[in-house]
């Protein structure tokens, strides 16, 4: 890529910006035309004017987008990527190359058709200037830009490779459809499962023989029952397609990740940019000994539909093997297996206090429902059952939360586990800690315990981890270990 040479985005960016308008106006016009009947011929002129106005609006938006495209220039110099746009109100966005952490490539279906892709710059410093920068280029040009920037970032230490070509080479390492299906299955939360079962009961009752079949069931009743179930199935399919061909491998000091059916995302993440690792065992996965790994890394996972997964759900031993292959710098499970510390036994007291407060609030909520006028007495029995179930659930959650919490302070990193139904294990290298807090409530302070909160660079540039209760002497240990890694 030539330095200081201006270039434009690919023209497909205009179509990408306009297709939503075209679709909405097209549907509107179709609706207008299809509604016309012989009796309404007199209204044709009115409809025609409305249609012309809509087409006019579309034309204005199109011309505006073309002008924006024509006036938008991208240039890369020795120190920065600069995007200038607009003539009347000129805007200049500058991203210093010194701040660039990574350059990623994304492709949606439209871009695949045009042979283009989006170049996304991830920066280290605060603010979202980089995410506001829209760079859409032909794949070859995008690869060249990526190479030029990454060559600056790695000070020429890393040889550039075409991400697309490399992805093709590693196609055999992509997760199978079976792996993705089981990942989706194990990732289901208990709350989602409960909601699904509640939705399914009335739906299933329609097909069961008995009294209910004799009752006349109208179209709308069936539709009301089917729509949420279809919604759940649709969400499942969307999740499945999101992980389509999930591939992860390491080349040199970079982890390569790609996934997605409709929008294919390809990332190259330098290992030293991964600030912490999280091993997640969702409730269902925990029962079957499955877990998956996520990473906390600047620029990955900060957009709504962006995944920060390192692996899909798999058996614990396979997961550690995979992590060992990907990030040998990371501890293996053997290093801390059996060495994780429980909370001090007196930490049960703050948990008990929290449980009692929750219990009283739940009971008080029920009491309020009883005194609200207008609730028929027939529901009192149901309210009581719901109250009992919630109380049991609260007790189980509190117990599991206490039981799951563990900590370990190693030489290079610390590990904390927490969770209720699901279990999360966070591995944080001391050198990744940006700042930290020791937190003590009135009761906990009396008991000489504390909780720490560690802030690292992460999703949306920030990420924090709250630990379980630890002995007050742990403060000095943490402080000393972090200072040693400064």
């Amino acid at each position: 890529m030539e330095l200081n040479k201006k270039f434009r985005n690919h023209f497909s960016i205009i179509i990408e910006k306009l297709w939503k308008y075209i679709l909405i106006i097209g549907l509107f016009l179709w609706d207008m035309i299809s509604d016309l009947s012989v009796e309404e011929t007199l209204a044709v002129m009115d409809n025609l004017i409305a249609a012309l106005i809509l087409v006019g609006i579309l034309a204005v938006v199109t011309i505006y987008e073309i002008l924006v495209w024509r006036k938008t220039w991208i240039v890369m110099d020795e120190n920065a990527v600069v995007i200038t746009s607009g003539r009347i109100q000129q805007k200049k966005k500058t991203i210093s190359l010194a701040n660039v952490a990574n350059v990623n490539i994304q492709r949606n279906i439209l871009e695949t058709l045009f042979g283009t892709c989006k170049v996304k710059l991830d920066v280290n410093s605060s603010g979202n200037m980089a995410s506001e920068m829209e760079i859409v280029l032909k794949v070859e040009k995008a690869s060249a830009l990526q190479a030029a920037i990454m060559s600056y970032v790695s000070q020429g230490k890393t040889a550039h490779v075409n991400m697309e070509a490399q992805e093709h080479e590693h196609e055999s390492e992509a997760c199978s459809k079976k792996d993705i299906f089981f990942h989706c299955l194990y990732s289901v939360t208990i709350w989602w499962l409960i909601a699904f079962i509640i939705l399914l009961i009335p739906f299933a009752s329609l097909f069961l023989p008995g009294e209910s079949t004799e009752m006349p069931v109208g179209f709308w009743e069936i539709l009301t029952l089917i729509v949420p179930v279809l919604g759940v199935i649709f969400t499942g399919i969307a999740g499945f397609l999101q992980y389509y061909k999930f591939t992860v491998y390491r080349v040199g000091d970079r982890i390569h990740i790609s996934y997605g059916f409709f929008t294919r995302k390809i990332y190259q993440i330098p290992v030293h940019r991964i600030h912490s690792i999280e091993i997640v065992s969702p409730a269902l996965g925990r029962m079957f000994g499955r877990a998956y790994a996520k990473m906390v890394c600047v620029g990955v996972g900060d957009e709504e539909k962006e995944l920060s997964l390192l692996t899909l759900a798999m058996k614990q031993e396979d997961l550690w093997k995979k992590l060992k292959d990907l990030i040998p710098e990371l501890l293996s499970e053997q290093d801390f297996k059996g060495a994780m510390h429980k909370q001090p036994s007196r930490a049960k007291i703050p948990f008990l206090v929290r449980y009692l407060i929750g219990m009283v609030i739940l009971a008080a909520s029920l009491a309020i429902l009883y005194i609200i006028p207008g609730i028929p007495e027939i529901f009192y029995g149901w309210l009581f059952i719901v109250e009992i179930l919630l109380q049991i659930l609260w007790l189980v959650c509190t117990f599991l939360k206490y039981h799951t919490a563990r900590w370990w302070l190693g030489e290079k990193q610390m590990i904390f586990t927490n969770g209720c139904m699901a279990k999360r294990m966070k591995m944080i290298p001391y050198k990744s800690v940006e700042h930290f807090e020791f937190h003590q409530g009135p009761l906990v302070r009396k008991m000489e315990l504390f909780q720490a909160i560690f802030h690292v660079k992460g999703r949306g540039l920030r990420d924090s981890t709250t630990t379980c209760y630890m002995e007050e002497t742990g403060k000095e240990m943490i402080l000393e270990k972090i200072k040693r890694k400064l």
Partner: protein
Amino acid sequence: MKEFQRLEKGAKGCMYLGTGTMSILGAAILSGLIFGFGWWDFLPIKIAYVAVMGLVILNTLVSPAFRYERYRYKIDDECIHVKEGYLWVTETIVPIERIQNLEVSQGPFDRYYKVAKVIVTTGGGEVSLSFIAKEKADEIAEYLKKRVNEAVVREREENGTE
């Protein structure tokens, strides 16, 4: 500044003024809601309103004194330490090398009591040293700026020799 420092007397007045103003604003909004929507006639709301108002008054009278007594800060060779809180106490520690931005800010109450806030930003968020005498805040900011610059130069040298 290697030992924990207390705040100066002016800080207490600033804390009282800030807490008092927020309490009056909160109480006005709550009262507006209760009386505006005619909820006052409902007994449980009446009891809750009186209880909340009692807590707000108690908090306004007691919390600034406690927070003032508890507030400590120190800057040693490697880190900034800030201890603060009322019922829940937090000790925040910021390694000086991690500081990305520095800012000294003064609100209207701060200007009246001649105090200021030193806000340091790291990759993990913002931390502030509040209610510091203005001259001292400027001194701290200057000292931290120097230290951060030294760290940047050292890092560049280390990278250059790699």
